[in-house]
């Protein structure tokens, strides 16, 4: 029996286990929307902007590990997904985005609402398709989900001309996908793994770097096993947060530009770095020539292009983090049994000294709210049992530094692209995946305005996300750079007019709360968590507060600036602009 292309699309999604689509209609996808009208199994969450839809699919995926799905129309609908696709691509997040396209006959004619979205998104998707024959549709959808979620994951886009959604074909769901030109390496090379085990056994001052790949391959248990067994401290990058418990005594916190003193010192002093599912981004390494000067490097990553791209690697292991770590742990446990505790004693003692010398801290004051205090209170009151998303800027760094993440997939942040406007829709996506969990977007007053319209989506679908706006009146991170590196010339970083976020929330039918004094912070958070509605918490914070420690861009990572140094000292450190 033949069915319509639209039916094939939706029935294929069901075969893939999709329960939610984040979408927005328009002319050329009306056939699909019409089919959805009677459907009971899939919920379409109507967003207010296609960028929002794409970030929601992304947040859904990051929190749950399942592939997120978005469906939008052609032309402007499709181009509005570009930022979401690029965000997902940079952070290797599996999503599948369906865009409508003008009818096949009109493609290339500059037809109404035509955009060459396959051309536009080629560099910011893992793969993309223009469907030319309705008979290929089911196979391509299956292939798209496979490509998105396997190997190094990433976004895939499927462009659907309107006539294809109306055309008839037999629905044949393939049971297997075979792409001869695409076979990700999953198992690590045995010989390399053995070599890695030997090097680990000999090392005196090793550090594990835990990247986003640990989360993507669900390898946090294996990583923890490695760390505990060999007593090696772990520093999780921004993307790797949650891959190793922040509260663990072997945790060093984040490395890099706004990393902890002890993580950066440990890396610089180390004789061995075991990098798992991370790619030595410039925000992590700082000045490359001065990065970990004494360390050999074991680099485990599923993407061969990540290896030796930025740093020289002594032992490259291409493979899936979970599988490689499993084998590595096995080899280590079967080998000689060194007295790890004895061997590491001195190194761990050194780390404790660094931790004691410069712990993560800030200056609490009575009269004005410090942003770090808000984050600490969020942690305390939720007992850490929450999914935290972030926007970009100072808010993002404070959320990374002062909340503690003990479980994977609880910290969702746009690391690679640094997309302001990501956190709020991502939180809505995560809340759709986990209706009963606490989901909090830690936001800036600038960033929240980039996708604030999605509050309507949260209200409409009763997704009770909480937004903690760290309201400093500024594009704070920009202001921080201008203060430190541009002679305090605050060019266009002051926002001047900021809406009354409490009233905005109320206008959308959500709840708005405000705290202007430290003493009000707790009450606001408790109240927000109590109401079963989306809430904007407007925390009016100290606008002068900066993110520390800070390594100026392009400087070695042990050249850190701290809050307690006299202003003059700070200015001596020059950023490479």
């Amino acid at each position: 029996m033949k069915v319509s292309g639209s039916q094939i699309v939706i029935e294929s999604l069901k075969k893939e286990g999709v329960k939610h689509i984040f979408g927005y209609p328009g002319g050329v996808v009306l056939n699909i929307f019409d089919y959805l009208y009677d459907d009971k199994d899939i919920q379409l969450i109507l967003t207010r902007h296609e960028q929002g839809a794409t970030h929601m699919a992304d947040g859904y995926s990051r929190s749950s590990g399942r592939v997120g799905v978005a469906l939008v129309t052609s032309g402007p609908g499709a181009t509005n997904t570009v930022t979401g696709l690029a965000t997902a691509a940079m952070d290797s997040i599996p999503i599948v985005v369906f865009t409508g396209q003008v009818p096949t006959m009109l493609i290339g004619n500059d037809a109404f609402q035509e955009a060459d979205i396959v051309g536009i998104t080629r560099p910011c998707t893992k793969y993309n398709y223009l469907i030319k024959d309705v008979n290929d549709l089911a196979y391509i959808i299956k292939e798209a989900f496979y490509i998105a979620s396997s190997g190094r994951p990433g976004p895939v886009l499927i462009d659907l001309p309107k006539d294809i959604t109306a055309a008839q074909a037999v629905f044949n769901w393939p049971d297997k996908i075979n792409i001869r030109s695409y076979n990700p390496t999953l198992e690590g090379n045995k010989w390399m793994i053995e070599k890695a085990a030997q090097v680990i056994s000999k090392s005196k001052k090793p550090v594990i770097l835990c990247g986003g790949g640990v989360l993507l391959s669900n390898a946090s248990e294996e990583l923890r096993e490695l760390a505990e067994f060999t007593q090696i401290p772990v520093s999780a990058t921004l993307m790797g947060i949650g891959g190793f418990p922040s509260t663990h005594h072997l945790s060093l916190g984040m490395p890099g530009m706004h990393g902890t003193y002890y993580a950066n010192m440990a890396i610089q002093e180390s004789d061995l770095l075991i990098a798992v599912g991370m790619r030595f981004d410039d925000r992590v390494t700082g000045k490359l020539d001065a990065f970990a000067p004494n360390a050999s490097i074991i680099h485990i990553d599923i993407d061969p292009t990540s290896i030796r791209k930025n740093v020289k690697v002594d032992i490259p292991i291409v493979g899936d983090s979970k599988r490689v770590l499993t084998s590595l742990n096995q080899v280590l446990k079967e080998g000689e049994k060194p007295q790890w505790n004895e061997i590491r004693k001195q190194w761990l003692k050194q780390l404790d000294e660094w931790k004691a010398l410069r712990p993560m801290s800030y200056n609490y004051v009575e009269d004005v709210i410090k942003p770090q205090y808000v984050i600490e209170k969020l942690y305390e009151i939720t007992s850490g049992d929450a999914i935290i998303t972030t926007e970009v800027g100072q808010n993002q760094m404070w959320a990374a530094q002062f909340f503690k993440y003990d479980k994977p997939r609880t910290f969702l942040s746009s690391g690679g692209l640094g997309t302001m406007g990501y956190g709020f829709p991502a939180a809505i996506g995560a809340q759709a995946a986990y209706p009963d969990r606490v989901v909090i977007d830690v936001a800036g007053d600038g960033s929240i305005q980039m996708n604030i319209q999605e509050l309507a989506t949260a209200v409409l679908y009763n997704l009770p996300v909480k937004v903690a706006i760290l309201n400093n009146g500024y594009l704070g991170m920009v202001r921080q750079w201008q203060e430190l590196f541009y002679k305090e010339r605050y060019s266009h970083s002051y926002l001047s007019t900021i809406p009354d976020f409490v009233k905005v929330a109320e206008a959308y039918g959500a709840v708005g709360l405000r705290a202007t004094k430290p003493s009000e912070v707790e009450d606001v958070i408790r109240e927000a968590l109590k109401v079963k509605k989306p809430v904007f918490m407007d925390f009016v914070i100290d606008w002068k507060e900066k993110v520390y420690p800070m390594v100026p861009a392009g400087a070695p990572i042990d050249q850190m600036m701290f809050d307690d140094e006299p202003q003059k000292e700070k200015k001596k450190l020059k950023a490479v602009k």
């Binding site: 080629r122 030319k132 490509i147 030109s181 292009t305």
Partner: protein, 162 residues
Amino acid sequence: MRHTISVLVENKFGVLSRVSGLFSGRGYNIESISVGETLDPKISIMTIVTKGDDQIIEQITKQLNKLIDVIKVQDLLEVDHVEREMVLLKVTPRQELKGEVLRLAEIFRGRIVDSSPKTYTIEITGDEKKIEAFIELMKPMGIKEFVRSGKIAIAREMTRTR
């Protein structure tokens, strides 16, 4: 250093732009690229000439391999291979040089593929050096225009890795 990279790809819509987009997006340069079908019409082969230090070439081959539609990548610098280019060159020699042009074309095993009262169009195949030598020799004869193909290359049988 200059490398000739041979890339086996799915003969699909958009593949050339995925490959060329990879080079432009990452700031690698393409000196020449040529594409053609293989014995299996579903597969095309691209011959790409590019320049870069070892690290860049390593990234280029890895990035090419990472493209979903790429089946196989071979850096021909690592193996014994044959390469060929072609030039179609139009000369307008003075009467007294016509004989010399024909003589040189013969030495280079060229063919006259078109002639008019004033011009000869000569086809020469060979490696890059030969093509360039021929162009140099023709310059004083009065070149009107020429078109060069990109390079194509193939590994020799019984390949020995250097």
